[in-house]
Symmetry: C2
Subunit: 252 residues, 2 copies
């Protein structure tokens, strides 16, 4: 799949790795979206460098002082919140081109954990400096606001999912969402590796891992998908979509 560089590097900032936004094939999905060449250059100067993480490494932890947001350059992350009484909720999965870390802005301290689910790489975007630059570049400022707002809207979607959907609907929504995001990145809409475990999927969807596993099996039995461990092939996208919109009857 879209695994790439396999080097095992210390998790420190490695400025040498820096790749200009203007050279990055993710720029249409990421923060510099819509910037002129000149302004993109100014953003390049601000980006603090890249950082590589091996699978399982934390990008940040709840409680860490907030300094930067991160653009995922390659790889796959999860974010999760955990409470003192041991509850653990995965709040999202992030892939290339997406921004992580905005939870830390409000209190100057991160409120969730971000973990690499495969060997990954992020760009560091020092937030104070981003604010300074964005007060000079209107389109950058506006785009930052859009990114934050999009996160809010996305969260509302998850609430909808958790609040109103049954297990199979949740899983169908999850698969379709992944499919759509992979497509936007030029990967196959129908065939991909899941980077997360059944338990992590379950946490995200508010289900137990056994329920996730059973739902996968049922989808397979019905010819909707084929599952081999973490390898998924979607066989019938239209029919998967119909699971989300129950045909009359249960229209409440």
């Amino acid at each position: 799949m879209h695994a790439n560089v396999k080097q095992n590097v210390v998790p420190l900032i490695t400025p040498g790795l820096k790749l200009a936004c203007s050279q990055c094939n993710l720029r249409e999905l990421c923060l510099p979206f819509g910037l002129s060449e000149h302004d993109m250059g100014r953003l390049d100067n601000l980006i603090g460098g890249a950082r590589k993480l091996k699978r399982g490494q934390h990008l940040y932890r709840a409680g860490d002082v907030f300094e930067s947001i991160f653009a995922v350059k390659a790889g796959f992350f999860k974010t999760d919140v955990l409470t003192e009484d041991g509850r653990d909720q995965v709040t999202g999965f992030q892939m290339a081109g997406e921004i992580v870390g905005m939870d830390g802005i409000s209190t100057e301290v991160h409120t969730c954990n971000a973990v690499a689910l495969e060997d990954s790489e992020v760009c560091l975007i020092p937030f104070t400096e981003l604010e300074m630059l964005s007060s000079e570049i209107r389109s950058l400022q506006h785009h930052l606001h859009k990114v934050m707002s999009r996160e809010i809207v996305r969260d509302h979607g998850v609430m909808m999912l958790l609040g109103t959907m049954r297990a199979e609907e949740r899983l169908a929504a999850f698969l379709l969402n992944l499919s759509q995001r992979f497509t936007a990145r030029g990967y196959s809409p129908t065939e991909f590796h899941l980077r997360m475990t059944r338990e992590e999927i379950g946490s995200y969807l508010g289900l137990k891992l056994e329920t996730v596993s059973r739902a996968f099996s049922r989808f397979q039995d019905e010819g909707l998908i084929s599952v081999q461990q973490k390898h998924i092939r979607i066989l019938d996208i239209p029919r998967l979509k119909t699971l989300l919109a129950p045909p009359d009857g249960r229209i409440r």
Copy 2:
């Protein structure tokens, strides 16, 4: 409670109503937080005026073009998302000093509905102009980012609630959250009127209205609260809090 003016005014912008931020007793909770007198004056000039809404009126609807965010000056709102297949999820309840409407920034179109649950009043904050001003006033810019980030963090809390808690825990968390927000506004922490129906509470908490009602009754039987329709009195906050942190045993 904190119901106030009872006039029935057309839901149009009424500039005459405009009250300067500097005169507003909510300024410590709201957008102008931390601004100098001078900068607050500049913000005053930007605020497009106030708007009154009667109970049941929409502040905006999903699909409306986004132009402004709103600061709740008085009253109580709910926001909800509904899908074409009829699902309805309440995504939040907003009270005085809180900002509504940030869902619209990302697509220039509102993605949820905002409805007044009692006669209410909001300040209109034209967003493009807010962006312009915030690029000049660093602390305003930063505060706006904090407000948006706080919304993201709040949403994560709701996900945690929906994803991991059982019915009584959800309701306890809900009551404690209301209590804390009322306290911050100078109202009683222990006695208040719910502005929303059992069904709306249920939608927010991912429960059916009957389950909400039963949980209220059980809390009352156990002496935690007293309930009379929409009037709530919390009798034992500490014990209510213990419901959230199950004492060992069920530390999944």
